[in-house]
């Protein structure tokens, strides 16, 4: 196994990238591009993503992790990011990896990363397979939850009236708003607001995994309904729930070993068939 850290030339600037490769002698089973989640969720998930990427490389997958514009160690500030720029970054990462690795392409998205992965899969010619970690179904709902951080700060501080309305008005007037230390541009908010997890590219397959805190619980009703809809439309898609912590939002950095195992198994089975 090897790990390369480098900057991928992009527009504007460059993107920080990590490439995990299997042993040189080994045939690469698939080329995987990781699409990270949003803002603080990305920080909370960094460890899980790194552990999973290493585990994938150890079993024969080439994995490219890229920090999107304004995130992590890539160019720009968060406030420079737009939804369209992030889509372009994911597409750039896919093209770069496919030029280097001749293997089937997988997009591995997490949370809002699934929305991006799904949209890019529809733009790329050829088959794209999708691995989803706790996908966000509605960008609108996610945006609402993100803006709510500001409301929550006011609740903890004592008051909360009218905060949400003020934020929405500012965005509608083309102003950026600051939420929990992140500058959110109208271009990012607008793209996220319109993003919806719709039926993907027909030629690929979907491995959809949710994490649930209760050992006996299945997928959330909303996710199960969407998945059933896709299957009915002929999409090759499988869903499952694993037991573990919601590591992308827990107060402390946590790990979810069941998710790591389930992902490896799902991808190995998919590649074998």
């Amino acid at each position: 196994m090897s790990l390369e850290a480098f900057f991928l030339p992009a527009s504007p600037g460059q993107r920080f990238a990590l490439l995990h490769l299997p042993e040189a002698a080994r045939q690469v089973r698939a080329a995987v591009v990781h699409v990270h989640p949003f803002a603080e969720e990305m920080n909370k998930s960094r460890r899980m993503a790194a552990v999973q990427a290493r585990a994938m490389a150890a079993t024969g997958f080439a994995v490219l992790q890229v920090d999107l514009l304004g995130c992590g160690d890539s160019s720009g500030d968060f406030g420079d990011a737009s939804w369209e720029a992030w889509l372009a970054d994911v597409e750039l990462a896919c093209n770069w990896l496919l030029r280097r690795i001749d293997a089937p392409l997988w997009l591995w998205g997490q949370r809002t990363g699934c929305l991006l992965a799904n949209e890019v899969a529809n733009r790329i010619p050829g088959a794209v397979n999708l691995l989803f970690w706790q996908p966000v179904l509605s960008g609108r709902q996610f945006l609402q939850q993100f803006l709510r951080l500001k409301v929550a700060a006011e609740i903890v501080g004592g008051e909360s009236k009218g905060v949400m309305q003020r934020l929405r008005t500012q965005l509608a007037q083309g102003e950026s708003v600051e939420i929990a230390g992140y500058m959110l541009s109208p271009a990012l908010a607008d793209g996220l607001d319109k993003a919806e997890l719709l039926l993907p590219h027909r030629s690929g397959r979907v491995e959809w995994i949710e994490v649930c805190s209760r050992p006996d619980a299945g997928m959330s009703p909303a996710a199960a309904a969407r998945l059933t809809q896709w299957q009915a439309a002929g999409q090759h898609a499988r869903g499952m729930a694993v037991h573990g912590p919601a590591f992308w939002q827990t107060s402390e950095i946590s790990e979810c070993p069941t998710l790591l195992q389930a992902s490896l198994l799902a991808m190995s089975e998919a590649v074998a068939t």
């Binding site: 603080e40 709902q141 609402q144 939850q145 709510r148 951080l149 409301v151 929550a152 700060a153 609740i155 903890v156 004592g158 008051e159 909360s160 009236k161 905060v163 949400m164 929990a180 805190s213 209760r214 959330s220 009703p221 909303a222 912590p245 919601a246 939002q249 827990t250 107060s251 402390e252 946590s254």
Partner: protein, 83 residues
């Protein structure tokens, strides 16, 4: 549905309480009493409740009184489910 059990499990998980939440009584104070319950955690809590119980919270419904104690939080969830 065991609403109290679900709410306690979500509290424990989101706030990384490592099982402490299972010892909470109905009048255990939350906001202001649990240092883990900061603004980030309040949002994570609402989000988890929305996703688990499949309801949508309007931000006008939210103020500190919802998170005052375990019983006020359970009452809030119960009221949302009855709508």
């Amino acid at each position: 549905m065991d609403i109290r059990g679900e709410v306690v499990a979500i509290l424990d998980e989101v706030l990384s309480l490592k099982g402490r939440a299972s010892g909470f009584s109905l009048d255990t104070p939350l906001l202001g009493a649990l240092p883990e319950l900061d603004s980030m955690a309040v949002v994570a809590l609402i989000t988890s409740l929305e996703e688990r119980f499949a309801f949508v919270v309007d931000d006008d419904e939210l103020d500190g009184s919802v998170f005052a104690s375990l019983s006020t939080l359970i009452d809030f969830v119960q009221a949302k489910l009855n709508v």
